[in-house]
């Protein structure tokens, strides 16, 4: 089977029902997406498929319908995506383990809705669990990122 991840095409020989998360992590060595629950409860595994935020632990490799972007493809330390820059400015991360997923979820939200209300932010990100309690800074960083994106 073929998967395109962060612009690179990969030929893979895996079971069709292997979750995309484990294809990325263990077959392709792309470890930005994290394993937290495996049952769509934590959002640590969030990636984009054709720009849409999905839980990689819930998508079977055989069912992937488009190009995959992981946090590594969103931006890099040398070339940050706006959401990542806002995350750094607010120093959101504590342990940081949930943050790949939080950032991917936030980036998808802002791509669709450049000026979300508090309620819309809460709604979009409440599936992303943070055990360290970084929520107040997540809210602030989403707003900063939204403002930065609107200003271009």
């Amino acid at each position: 089977m073929q998967l395109t991840v962060n612009g690179v095409a990969h030929e893979l020989d895996v079971e069709a029902d292997m979750p995309l998360l484990w294809v990325l992590r263990d077959e392709l060595g792309i470890t930005g997406p994290k394993y937290g629950c495996g049952i769509a409860q934590c959002g640590a595994c969030t990636v984009h498929v054709d720009g849409q935020a999905v839980r990689a632990c819930q998508v079977a490799a055989g069912d992937v319908w488009g190009e995959i972007t992981t946090i590594e493809g969103l931006g890099t330390p040398r070339s940050l995506h706006t959401v990542q820059a806002a995350w750094i400015a607010h120093q959101v991360a504590q342990c940081g383990y949930c943050q790949s997923g939080q950032i991917m979820q936030a980036a998808a939200l802002l791509a669709e809705n450049p000026d979300p209300t508090d309620a819309e932010i809460d709604e979009a990100l409440s599936g992303n669990l943070c055990r360290c309690g970084t929520y107040p800074r997540i809210r602030a960083a989403v707003k900063t990122a939204a403002a930065m994106l609107r200003e271009g």
């Binding site: 342990c95 940081g96 809210r139």
Partner: protein, 747 residues
């Protein structure tokens, strides 16, 4: 001045060593300098100026031996060293270093002593100073107890300054200019003419010198990084998916594995059938491990699938099977024979209760899982001559000792490579998961094996925060609290944990009553008694340890008495508070929240709570409102005293994170037991807190005290009682058990 009763001298026992052990072990040995582990294996031209600074021609590496689990330990250690050394830590390499006795924690044992933090009398101070002795002698390298900053504040700034002065001495010898005419700036020695000699260029010469040990760290007035808003050293990696946690490690030829062990912790394996698993794609080997079975495969998901396909016949462990049996067993343990401590006994409690009209209430809190978001994992390679272990751990030296025992190798042949942790909250003070990975790796010698737990394995094989029950009795008179008598029963965390990693200590366990007995209130008749329940589910330290339960018991029951007295919750706490630093904290919380009584409006109310833990007095005010969807937490104000705020940004993050940790579990979480195992196995039934429930938080750090404190834990204990007290103010309902969602609905 302290009114707290003096414990008997024989009870100063921590770990397996008496604190007075300086004499027993020999003061001479204690005084001997610890060997610098960096000197081993140093290459030509490299210098290890202290155990914390390594320099070669490429530049500086700072050694940050306290483990980072998200609390910012690496970053603050780097900034402490950098402040002494005079360089920007964002421009140098950081390394947790190899486990070594040189990195022992001299502050962590002091918390276990039976002295309240407010007690600065001779005996308390002597015992605190002496607690350094066994820690040093045993080389206890532990991260926990909010001790990194108290332990490292002087040590690392001094280590940095020693390195700086030694580099200046090297420059002096190289240039012939006297050391006292040289300066430093951001990673270079500065000559009188302004010329810069980078530290890296001085390494070869510095390596030949004796370290200049009379170096003096920069005074606070000249600090460049400390006390200022700085960038966390790991923030870019953690915002770009490029931080390598234990679970992310990749090594050549690495295999992937998972295990299942008895969900009845400690129970036997009567037998298993792995034939289905063995036939599955990618499965290399099925390996029995202590208490269960593991699968080694070529992919983590294949290992998960295969290990779940093994039919296992579990034996029963030695504790009651269900919560229905555990609660009565706990309650029944509150007997004179099980009395563990009475560190506080003032006035005449019995007489006061006899003469007044006694108010009585029973409280309880459930077992709780740590459930850091990164599940337990470890990567291990074992050969005939050495073992390498890559993992996130708070106890690298214990890991080394235990792995040596298991493999039959010398401790020196066991190499622990510490990796950043995706949370811990105390979970990685245990090394059960690491030793399982060692057992697996021994079955495929020479190949590295990365073992990862499923979330279900993680949640059901935690060593949880113990369930506890408390009984409060008290009286009020003329609008004042007159007597407070609190009895707490619980399993001993110290005995359970130390029994696993070392040896269970004799003497009372302060964690059973921590956060209750040591509070800075002057109540005329005041008593706190701890009872030790028999070991049931094995338990361990959960962020803020004993205070996580006792903060709730003590403050909520105090709130009940204050209400019965007809006094204002904040004013009466202030009136009772005998510690000036704690009073300022309560005053700050009152001012921040605009306190004007518990009721704000028909639909809004607030609660206040106070708890002194890990030396930090913390007051929190929680504001809630009634909405159609249920009770909503709008805002939390928190004030605390920590001596000095070293990193304002991370300080705020740790307090806020602690508050949300305390609130989320108080609202929504418990581990209940059936068939010896928790009924909650994943975040669907153990949700913590989600973004939509998170309130706004305002934090203030006071700097009136002369002692520097750690802040990873003290935010937790007042959160649950402040919320429960607010719910009482709003609804008139006094909830005496957690989680609160058993009794109210949250929006």
């Amino acid at each position: 001045m302290s009114r707290i009763g003096r414990p008997a001298r024989r009870s100063f026992l921590i770990g397996s060593a008496a604190v007075a052990g300086g004499v027993a072990f020999g003061y001479y040995r204690y005084r001997q300098p610890l060997p610098n582990p960096l000197l081993e294996g140093l290459a030509e031209g490299e210098a290890a100026l202290t155990p914390f600074v390594r320099i070669d021609a490429q530049g500086v590496t700072l050694i940050t031996p306290r483990a980072d689990m998200g609390q910012g330990a690496s970053s603050i250690q780097a900034y402490l060293l950098a402040e002494g050394l005079d360089l920007d830590p964002l421009t140098v390499r950081l390394d947790p270093g190899d486990p070594s006795p040189a990195y022992y924690n001299g502050a962590v044992l002091a918390e276990g002593l039976p002295f309240a933090a407010t007690d600065t009398g001779w005996l308390a101070e002597t015992a605190r100073a002496a607690a350094d002795v066994p820690a040093r002698l045993m080389g206890m390298q532990i991260t926990g107890g909010s001790s990194t900053v108290p332990d490292m504040f002087d040590r690392l700034r001094h280590a940095g300054a020693v390195a700086r002065e030694t580099l200046k001495e090297a420059a002096a010898q190289q240039t012939g200019i006297a050391r006292d005419r040289l300066g430093t700036d951001d990673g270079a020695v500065i000559l009188p003419d302004g010329q810069r000699l980078p530290y890296g260029a001085l390494a070869a010469r510095a390596a030949t010198l004796e370290p200049v040990t009379d170096a003096i760290p920069r005074p606070a007035s000249a600090w460049r990084y400390l006390g200022k808003r700085v960038q966390r050293t790991d923030i870019v990696a953690k915002s770009t998916g490029t931080e390598t946690y234990g679970i992310d490690l990749a090594l050549d030829g690495m295999l992937y594995a998972s295990v299942r062990t008895n969900p009845g912790l400690g129970g036997a394996v009567n037998g298993y059938d792995a034939s289905a698993a063995e036939a599955m794609r990618g499965v290399l080997k099925v390996v029995p491990v202590t208490g269960g079975v593991g699968v080694i495969a070529d992919n983590t998901w294949r290992a998960f699938r295969a290990v779940n396909a093994i039919a296992i016949d579990w034996g029963a462990p030695g504790y009651p099977a269900s919560s229905d049996q555990i609660w009565p067993a706990l309650r029944a343990a509150m007997t004179a024979g099980n009395r563990d401590s009475r560190f506080r006994d003032e006035g005449d409690v019995e007489n006061a209760l006899f003469e007044g009209e006694a108010i009585a209430a029973e409280y309880r809190v459930p077992y709780l899982a740590h459930a850091p978001l990164e599940p337990m994992n470890a990567t291990v390679r074992v050969t005939d001559s050495r073992a390498d272990i890559w993992t996130g751990t708070q106890i690298p030296r214990f890991v080394q000792t235990h792995a040596a025992r298991l493999t039959g190798l010398d401790e020196a042949a066991v190499h622990v490579h510490a990796l950043p942790m995706g949370g811990s909250f105390g979970r990685r003070l245990e090394d059960d998961y690491v030793l399982q990975a060692v057992e697996l790796a021994m079955a495929v010698k020479g190949r590295p094996v990365k073992m990862t737990w499923t979330r279900e394995e993680d949640m059901t094989h935690d060593f949880p925060r113990p369930a506890q029950i408390a009984r409060g009795r008290g009286t009020v008179r003329e609008g004042r609290v007159e007597a407070l008598d609190l009895s707490v029963v619980g399993q001993s965390v110290s005995a359970s944990w130390l029994g696993r990693v070392m040896v269970a200590p004799p003497g009372p366990d302060t964690t059973i009553v921590a956060g209750a007995w040591d509070q800075p209130f002057a109540i005329p008749h005041y008593r706190v008694t701890g009872y030790r329940a028999p070991e049931m589910v094995p338990v361990s330290s959960w962020r803020s340890v004993g205070a996580s339960a006792n903060g709730f018991f003590h403050d909520c029951f105090l709130d009940e008495l204050i209400h019965a007295a007809g006094a204002d919750p904040l004013e009466e706490r202030l009136r009772l508070c005998a510690d000036p630093l704690s009073r300022k904290v309560l005053e700050a919380a009152a001012e921040m929240s605009g306190w004007s009584g518990p009721r704000i409006s028909e639909t809004r109310a607030r609660g206040v709570a106070f708890c002194l833990s890990f030396g930090v007095p913390m007051a929190e005010v929680v504001e809630i409102s009634r909405t159609e969807a249920g009770i909503r937490i709008d805002k939390v104000y928190a004030a605390c005293e920590i001596g000095r705020v070293l990193d304002p940004d991370n300080f705020e993050a740790q307090v806020a994170g602690g508050i949300l940790f305390g609130l989320g579990h108080a609202m929504n979480c418990e581990l209940s037991y059936a068939d010896h195992a928790p009924e909650q196995a994943n975040f669907d039934s153990y949700p913590g807190m989600r973004l939509s429930q998170a309130p706004q938080i305002e934090v203030r750090g006071l700097e009136n005290g002369d002692r520097i404190r750690g802040i990873g834990e003290p935010g937790v204990p007042p959160a649950a009682p402040a919320l429960a007290n607010a719910i009482f103010a709003l609804t008139g309902q006094r909830i005496r058990e957690l989680p609160l969602n058993r009794h109210v609905t949250f929006a």
